[in-house]
């Protein structure tokens, strides 16, 4: 018996086994953490769970921004190399140029991730799956749609391709709308497919819906009228703001030019700026009612006071203040109705140095409107030069201060409410916010009565009138500042007002920047827009006529 051969074999096996056990023990004990980490790094991934972005609604529940699930097909170019015929098939389904796709995949060949296309519809994804090409995977994403398009673009804003807010409410409320993506730990196989979920790390939280104060019907009316006015008058730009008198809610806010948030090309345009809150202008005659309010508050003037504006001009230092014609003796109401510079300047110079400034400040000029939209301008209202008579006179007829259309609308809101100041908001309010009384009601009532004359037959803006309803407002025509001082060619046309005067419901401000038509002034250019928008808006809102009745 060759027993030694038997033992040799046993010893050999024994040595091999001991060697293996030793190696296992070595790896398992000393190298354990390193190996575990390396193994997991190759197979365990933290994947995000995308969530649905909240819907933005108007005040009546009409959708303004909706997310719809989309898929983005991708490949891992380091593992999957598509053949030419495959690329042609894929490009056909995705409706992109085959050469373009081939180039893109070529460029991404060193990487582990390349989109074939972003955000495709589920039907297209199904067609792509039907090609049965190994290695094409889908990432779940959401695409944002804006059904109102251009009409509400400036308030609603937009998101970028990665679904984060860039402008408007989309930006202001991004955190709430976005929700919170969930995360989970998953096991992936060698080809990157998720084989199973290991653990949920954080629970996904869907985005919250946001309801705006906008009324899409009024928004559309405002958009249509402003757009046609800007085109007809060949204006550079224009804005329209409509506020709810009782709550300070923004019912409509439109600007021209606008942009289409549904296309990426449309977003590059200069139309993205929300001019109604970011751009400021000298308000000109539109603030005269507030200057006259300061006069009534001072006690030195009453609604029956008469100012002699003869000979239609006067000098303050070296500066000439003039009216187009000599209007002679004017009552307080007539100063507003005819928009007399001389009248307002004379009144302002009789008042205390800060009186007009204080009224403007209380009306909210120079303050943040508080709409909640990003990029609100504060305008400019300063008391630095109030010791100079020319500065005080200019302030009273609306030069030397800057306001945004939104601020102007808010200052008119204080008149429409009978002297109560409110903040503006673009969000639907369930309760009426805090209101601060800033003017005495009797003074405001007198001013409003005077302002009704502006839209009367002898006023500067008969075209702002609305049949059946009483309307109060004021025009403004402001020369723009250029490098050589005030420019006689370029100007801004305003109309600001509210209706119905009996119980005011809406405040509307119309601004047309640099109209180039034959008609240029606020009464000719901006007032008709006001009239058409208010006439329809009051009916849409179901507000009873308070004016002269015809049977």
């Amino acid at each position: 018996m060759n027993l030694w051969r038997h033992y040799l074999l046993v010893v050999c096996f024994g040595v091999c086994a001991a060697g293996l056990i030793g190696r296992v023990a070595y790896l398992g004990v000393t190298e354990h953490d390193f190996l575990k980490e390396q193994g997991e790094a190759r197979s365990v991934r933290v994947a995000t769970i995308p969530v649905h972005r909240g819907v933005i609604y108007d005040r009546h529940g009409e959708p303004l921004a909706v997310s719809t699930p989309s898929l983005s097909p991708w490949v891992d170019p380091s593992l999957t190399v598509l053949t030419r015929p495959q690329i042609a098939l894929v490009a056909g389904v995705l409706d992109i140029a085959a050469q373009h796709l081939a180039d893109r995949l070529e460029n991404a060949s060193g990487r582990q991730f390349a989109y074939l296309k972003r955000l495709i519809k589920p039907e297209v994804a199904d067609a792509l799956r039907a090609l049965h090409i190994d290695g094409i995977r889908f990432q779940r994403e959401y695409q944002r749609f804006y059904p109102a398009g251009e009409i509400a673009a400036h308030v609603v804003g937009m998101t970028d391709i990665d679904d984060s807010g860039q402008e408007g409410v989309e930006l202001a409320m991004d955190a709430a709308l976005r929700g919170r993506k969930g995360t989970k730990r998953v096991l992936r196989d060698r080809r990157g497919r998720t084989v199973r979920d290991l653990a949920y790390l954080s629970v996904p939280e869907f985005g919250h819906d946001v309801t705006l104060s906008l009324d899409l019907r009024l928004q559309f009316l405002a958009y249509r009228e402003l757009k046609s006015a800007v085109e007809h008058n060949r204006a550079e730009s224009g804005s329209l703001v409509m506020l709810d008198v009782d709550t300070g809610e923004v019912l409509a806010l439109v600007n021209q030019p606008s942009f289409n948030p549904n296309t990426f090309d449309g977003r590059q345009a200069s139309g993205v700026r929300n001019r109604a809150i970011t751009d400021t202008y000298e308000p000109g005659s539109t603030v005269k009612p507030l200057a006259m309010l300061a006069a009534l508050e001072s006690g030195r003037f009453s609604e029956n006071s008469v100012i002699d504006t003869s000979p239609g001009y006067f000098m303050i230092g070296h500066k000439l203040i003039e009216d187009p014609i000599n209007r002679g003796r004017l009552s307080m109401a007539e100063i507003l109705i005819k928009s007399s510079q001389v009248g307002v300047a004379k009144v302002a110079l009789t008042l205390g140095a800060r009186d007009v400034f204080d009224v403007y400040a209380r009306a909210g000029l120079g303050d943040a409107p508080g709409t909640g939209l990003p990029g609100e301008s504060l305008g400019k209202l300063t008391d630095v030069d109030l010791d100079k008579p020319i500065a005080r006179a200019a302030l009273a007829y609306g030069y030397g201060l800057m306001v945004s259309p939104m601020q102007l609308a808010l200052s008119y809101l204080t008149l429409a409410t009978g002297g109560v100041h409110r903040s503006a908001t673009v969000f639907r309010q369930t309760a009426v916010g805090p209101a601060v009384r800033v003017f005495e009601e009797r003074h405001v009532r007198s001013i409003v009565t005077m302002m009704e004359g502006v839209v009367g037959a002898g006023g500067t803006a008969p075209k702002a009138g609305v049949r059946g309803y009483r309307v109060a407002g004021k025009t403004g025509t402001v020369r723009k500042v250029s490098a050589h001082g005030y420019d006689d060619e370029r100007h801004v046309a305003f109309f600001a007002g509210f209706a119905p005067v009996g119980t005011p419901k809406i405040v509307v401000v119309v601004v047309l920047n640099e109209p180039r038509g034959d008609a240029g002034g606020g009464g000719e250019v901006a007032a008709p827009v006001f009239s058409r928008v208010v006439a329809r808006a009051l009916r849409v809102l179901g507000i009873a006529p308070d004016g002269r009745e015809t049977v």
Partner: protein
């Protein structure tokens, strides 16, 4: 001595049984996990489809009830006109 041996055997059987039971349990749990995971995937797909449909319906409703649409139908189809004069309606 005899008792001790049978106690050991018993303990061995118990441990073995526990081992088998835990093995079965592990297999069952992972099977359950797979089933739940596939249900989750199905539900997620269903949720996606419903969200997609919901957003589409929202958009469709928005398009139909848009003021411009109502305005057009009122004027073109129903031959309604915007009243210039306000008249008091007496019932």
């Amino acid at each position: 001595m005899k008792i001790r041996r049978s106690a050991w055997t018993l303990a061995g059987v118990v441990v073995f049984a526990a081992l088998v039971a835990s093995g079965v349990e592990v297999a069952q749990t992972s099977q359950q996990m797979r089933a739940l995971f596939s249900r989750l995937s199905v539900n997620q797909a269903k949720q996606d489809a419903l969200l997609h449909e919901h957003s589409r319906l929202l958009l469709e409703r928005g398009a139909l009830s848009a003021y411009q649409n109502v305005d057009r139908i009122a004027e073109d189809v129903l031959a309604m006109q915007f009243p210039d004069e306000v008249e008091r309606i007496i019932r």
